[in-house]
């Protein structure tokens, strides 16, 4: 199998940057999962899709808008009515879901190449993200595991909170480099480390 090339390669600068003298505010990284798969249920078939996620990915998603399950190896969350994003560090997840879901339940769309996964973690993660997105990142409004769809100008993004101070961002690959550069710039104020 050919390795996926990162869209961030030419602008990837590991190390500490910005105003980090008083400590690192955020850690930025590309998580490069093997699979990013969208599942979309027909009306009334959401439960069946949730069951498929449990069966295939071993993740139990809570009911309700934006409900999700975080995880290092695999994660999933809802981002739109009846729609879920499932992420796996291994490749081949789309094929497994295609086997598990019939067309009467919903559809499977492989986005493994189409979305770039960026992680932002650290004490200032909420602060930096609030520069971009007009959504409430506080833990009460945006609990661990939950997913959100939002936009920064043209840059559309799905966000999952994976830990108290950690978020996973899924952006369109063609915008990933621009967004990464903007993210780095916005993080300079609090000091950031690219890992």
């Amino acid at each position: 199998m050919v390795e996926q090339e990162s869209p961030l390669k030419p602008v990837w600068q590991p190390g500490s940057h910005g105003n980090f003298a008083a400590g690192i505010g955020v850690y930025l990284s590309e998580s490069a999962p093997g699979s990013i798969v969208q599942l979309a249920a027909w009306a009334g078939k959401e439960k069946a899709v949730l069951q498929a996620i449990k069966a295939v990915a071993g993740l139990k998603l809570p009911d309700g808008a934006g409900g999700g399950a975080p995880g290092e190896a695999r994660a999933a969350f809802g981002f739109a009515p009846g729609k879920f994003l499932v992420i796996d560090e291994q490749e081949g997840l789309a094929e497994r879901f295609t086997q598990a879901l019939d067309i009467e339940t919903g559809t499977v769309t492989d986005l493994s190449h189409g979305r770039t996964a960026i992680r932002i973690a650290g004490p200032k993660a909420e602060w930096v993200l609030s520069k971009f997105f007009a959504i409430d990142f506080s833990a009460t409004a945006f609990p661990i595991g939950a997913g959100r769809s939002t936009v920064h100008h043209e840059i559309f993004v799905h966000i999952q909170r994976s830990a108290p101070t950690q978020f996973e961002l899924y952006v369109f690959r063609s915008f990933a480099r621009s967004f990464w550069q903007a993210l780095c710039r916005a993080s300079e104020e609090v000091g950031y480390e690219v890992q």
Binding site: T109, D110, L111, H113, R115, K131, H153, E154, F175, E188
Partner: protein, 998 residues
């Protein structure tokens, strides 16, 4: 110690000396000083020249309401004009300049304008420079002759031309309670809300929270008010659920309790820390807002009231109590209310002599009388100031007996020596934000002031903004508002702090103006006098909104914070109506000036997002000249050294037509259309059939809008029974997606179809030319690519050097061609493999110019022809309109006007003078270069055609098809192009399509 700095007192850090420059002179001040307080401490009283008359002006206030002391802050090449010196915190290296003076502040030529004062009264511009042009120097012609000099003489500071290198940012914030203002009311509100667990933001426009506590002489809870405030601030800072935003002006109150604020993060620093923005713009969404914005003192209007040395009484109190600065040594006070007596008390304590208090009222409260008796030389009740004396500084005043009932002076004036005159005309609650989120402000006769209106959004008011001017009321109202805003059940005001304050009467006498000879200013910043207001009335401007626009009263950068109410009062008196009947102008955002940088934040210049294809870096490394197509960056040409653009695309085109070329088509919109009803859905949205398309085949499709005009075109591939991959043009990808989503959500919710943008999932490379099949055969494994395995519009799956690919045989160039799709992360790998595999066949990469040239030669349409005004018939695509089914647009595409013979139709154009053509040029029938007329259409695209050896183009021409073979002219006056052309079929090249089917 400088002449005006008191020997002790104030909340400045006397241990820290700060050096700054004003008008080229070095000065020193202390940490905690504003530019105004530091200059006053150095004995500077002249701060600038006025807008129209170039009158000398000093500092009138101590805060955001300053109309006079505007300066330009200079930072390298960047000049920020019109900043009130009263709001600038000094730092080492600060450089400021005065404004609107030439050549210097002290000797200003423009001051001659004062002599022509009558000429420059209200409406001067309208009267002098507008109207019919009669004679050489009348009306607008006169304006054109004088404009340069007038623009130079009038106005405020000027901005620099350098690019501002500072960083600006935006921030989104959410909270339960936003408290605006951090005086005692705001502090108590924040504290009460925070105690109940609410998320609180406390915004304060000054550097040091505390508001009036920072300069009152009062005690709260047994300690000096300022100390109480700083300890309250300290407690708030320690709470996790409170965010304190000093130096943050909440400037707008918008729908749904969304407020706009600007934080001046580094304006008080010599240099920002790394990555620190200069200004941060906050968009705050609050459940409830507590407005604790206080009140602003207003001046009285009397002749000479603008001379440097005339200052608001409470501003003087602030200078002495907060900054340890005496605004004068021999001070007179002129007031219509008790609050000014506090200044007398404070200044006397700091060592100034209070020459006299001139009070318009004959009767004053006992508390005021007591202060007067203990600190004042003369207490002149029932008197008015009718003039000030001096040049660039007050040296004396003239007073005269005054009668409130008749609002007139009597008797003889007498002079008093004073170097400073403090004025108080009462207080106006700071209702700007409340008014933006409320109904009409309420006039209260007793206070002679507007109070906050009925809210139309969720806010509460506390403190002086409510017209309750005592600190104790501020404390109790603040606490109650904070608790209520946070929905606290335990709003027990049991142990509130106790304020130890005087008991002066806050109600003023209803007098705003002293009528006496001389210029009496209402709006100091725009040089609007009381006579200007009356003149406007005489000329028929009776509405307050018209008055404002005609005189420009209240329209300067200070937005009339000191002038609105006095101006309104004078207007009301002139009209003979009570003030509430005249009404007030609407308060609109911003409350105070906001930097454009803060509003733009990241939305400018080179950090606009770029959309890059998976092979972008390869293109750059291989000499591509990039072209911005929307947000996408696409290769235009891969020029060789010394090549022109035309030479490059001609070379690339020839290489493709004669051999093989590779072009990046990853930017095409791609939409996954999936579901049991996908085929049925496509039949409804395309003009042609897709349900009949076999799996593993692609078809060219055309979409119309509901009104029958063409929306977009592209090929759609059937990857499975329920699985289609739709492609759209690059430019219309988003529009088509929304169009389809709308139909599924709103019109046909019963259809089970999902749409997903997969534009970014796939890298696309089109390999074109007679040798393209050979290159593919050499590179692709896992599938055959010969004509049987991969016929025209067929799709196969295989691998290229280990990367899975999907190949569809279709052609935009007119040659044998294939589109090779692979995962975007494999894009460069597949592209480079094809380039390597094509080396032996002479493969070239080609860009948009060559692509465009080949499509023009083939007569294929793109966005230039699908311009929202063309129908399928206009583009000769009527063969795609199915008669077997209705589709979007089918009901309206046959309307009379859309079938007319003379509609603009697609044609080909050949340049007959062998000169290039330009898109956008008109086609005219008459040979009349000097006066081109009678356009019959226009060019949509043009190129040099290597196969024809001619300059050609596509055009939309009236009744175009019938004109094939006829001659006309191209007219493009802007580019000085006129010449003969021939109208031909748009199929210039291989009309039978034998090359791509071969």
């Amino acid at each position: 110690m400088s002449p005006r700095r008191a020997t002790a007192g104030g909340r400045i850090d006397r241990q820290r000396t700060i050096r700054f420059t004003f008008d080229g002179h070095q000065f020193t001040g202390h940490a905690g000083d504003t530019l105004a307080s530091a200059l006053l401490a150095n004995g500077v009283t002249l701060f600038g020249r006025s807008f129209k008359y170039h009158r000398p002006r000093g500092v009138m206030t101590a805060g955001v309401n300053e109309p006079n002391a505007l300066v330009t802050i200079v930072n390298g090449g960047v000049r920020e004009p019109n900043i009130p010196a009263t709001t600038v915190e000094i730092f080492d290296g600060l450089t400021a300049e005065s404004q609107n003076r030439f050549p210097t502040l002290s000797y200003d030529i423009g001051a001659l304008n004062q002599l022509g004062g009558r000429l420059l009264s209200a409406g001067f511009y309208y009267k002098t420079f507008m109207g019919p042009v009669i004679g050489p120097l009348k009306g607008t012609r006169l304006w054109m002759a004088c404009e340069y000099f007038i623009r130079r003489a009038a106005g405020l500071g000027s901005a620099g031309l350098e690019k501002d290198p500072a960083r600006y940012e935006r921030m989104n914030a959410f909270c339960d309670v936003l408290v605006v203002g951090s005086g005692p009311a705001g502090l108590m509100a924040a504290q009460a809300a925070a105690e109940s667990g609410a998320r609180v933001i406390l915004a304060e426009l000054e550097a040091v929270p505390g508001g009036s506590a920072n300069w009152s002489d009062e005690a709260i809870d047994g300690m000096p008010a300022a100390k109480w405030a700083s300890s309250a601030v300290g407690k708030l800072k320690a709470l996790e659920n409170v965010r304190l935003l000093p130096r943050t002006t909440v400037w707008g109150y918008y729908d749904d309790n969304t407020l706009a604020a600007v934080e001046r993060v580094t304006d008080h620093k010599s240099a920002p820390a790394k990555g620190e923005p200069r200004h941060r713009h906050w968009t705050i969404r609050a459940q409830t807002v507590v407005l604790a914005t206080g009140a602003l003192e207003r001046p009285l209007v009397f002749p000479g009231n603008d001379r440097p040395g005339v200052m608001l009484a409470d501003a003087a109190r602030r200078y002495v109590n907060q900054f340890g600065v005496l605004p004068g040594e021999k001070i007179a006070i002129f007031t219509n209310n008790d609050s000014a007596y506090r200044a007398a008390h404070a200044l006397k304590k700091a060592g100034a002599a209070i020459v006299a208090i001139i009070d318009l009222r004959r009767e004053v409260s006992d508390a005021a009388r007591q202060i007067a008796a203990s600190v004042v030389g003369e207490h002149l009740t029932g008197h008015a100031v009718v003039a000030t004396e001096g040049g660039k500084q007050v040296s004396g005043i003239k007073v005269q007996p005054f009668d409130i009932a008749t609002a007139s002076v009597s008797g003889d004036p007498r002079s008093l020596h004073a170097d400073c005159l403090l004025v108080s005309g009462g207080w106006s609650p700071t209702i700007h934000l409340a008014s933006q989120a409320g109904l009409k402000p309420v006039w209260i006769e007793q206070l002679q002031a507007f109070l906050p209106p009925q809210p139309t959004q969720k806010w509460l008011a506390a403190g002086a903004i409510t017209g309750s001017f005592s600190t104790q009321e501020a404390i109790s109202q603040g606490h109650a508002a904070g608790a209520k805003a946070a929905d606290s059940k335990s709003a027990e005001p049991g142990d509130l702090p106790i304020a130890d304050a005087d008991s002066l009467d806050p109600c003023p006498a209803p007098i705003f103006e002293i009528k006496a000879p001389g210029k009496a200013f209402v709006d100091h910043q725009h040089d609007v006098t009381a006579d200007d207001v009356r003149l406007a009335h005489r000329e028929g401007f009776v509405s307050v909104e018209h008055l404002k626009r005609y005189t420009t009263l209240g329209m300067a950068t200070d937005q009339g914070k000191t002038s609105n109410v006095p101006g309104l009062a004078i207007m009301a008196e002139t009209l003979g109506k009570p003030i509430p009947e005249v009404g007030t102008t609407r308060f609109r955002p911003p409350f105070a000036p906001v930097s454009v940088g803060a509003l733009a934040a990241e939305r400018y210049g080179d950090i606009r997002p770029e959309r890059l294809t998976p092979m972008h870096d390869w293109h750059v490394e291989n000499g591509a000249t990039l072209y911005a197509a929307g947000l996408w960056h696409r290769p235009m040409i891969y020029g060789l050294a010394g090549e022109t653009v035309e030479q490059a695309y001609v070379r690339e085109t020839k290489a493709v037509r004669g051999g093989v070329g590779l072009v990046d088509v990853s930017t095409l919109g791609k939409i996954a259309v999936q579901g049991p009803d996908a085929a049925a859905f496509l039949d409804r949205v395309y003009t042609n059939m897709f349900s009949t398309l076999a799996v593993g085949k692609a078809r060219y499709g055309l979409m119309l809008r509901e009104d029958g005009f063409v929306l977009d075109d592209g090929t759609t591939w059937r990857l499975g029974e329920h699985d289609f991959l739709m492609t759209t043009t690059t430019a219309n990808a988003g529009k088509v997606m929304q169009h389809l989503e709308y139909l599924l959500d709103v019109v046909w919710p019963e259809l089970r179809v999902h749409l997903t943008s997969v534009t970014d999932q796939w890298a696309g490379a089109a390999i074109s030319g007679p040798k393209s099949r050979e290159v593919l055969a050499a590179c692709v494994t896992g599938t055959a690519v010969d004509n049987d395995a991969l016929p025209f519009m067929g799709i196969v799956h295989g691998e290229i050097d280990g990367a899975p690919v999907m190949i569809c045989r279709l052609s935009f160039s007119g040659e044998l061609a294939y589109e090779v799709y692979c995962g975007a992360g494999h894009g460069t790998h597949v592209w480079a493999t094809l380039m390597k595999g094509g080396e032996n066949f002479g493969i070239v990469p080609y860009g948009l110019e060559a692509l465009g040239t080949m499509r023009i030669e083939k007569g294929h349409v793109t966005g230039a022809e699908i311009d929202g005004r063309t129908t399928a018939r206009d583009l000769h695509l009527d063969w795609m309109l199915s008669k077997k089914k209705p589709f979007i647009g089918s009901a309206m595409m046959d309307r009379e006007g859309l079938l007319a013979e003379d509609r603009l139709q697609l044609v080909g154009i050949i340049s007959l003078d062998n000169r290039p053509l330009n898109g956008g040029a008109h086609i005219v029938e008459h040979l009349d270069e000097a006066n081109p007329h009678g356009s019959i259409g226009h060019l949509t695209a043009a190129c040099y055609s290597p196969v024809l050896g001619r300059y050609i183009g596509l055009a939309l021409v009236s009744g175009g098809k019938a004109r094939h073979g006829s001659r006309a002219f191209v007219s493009d006056p802007l580019r000085r192009r006129f010449g003969p052309i021939e109208i031909v079929s748009h199929h210039f090249y291989d009309p039978e399509g034998s090359r791509m089917h071969g």
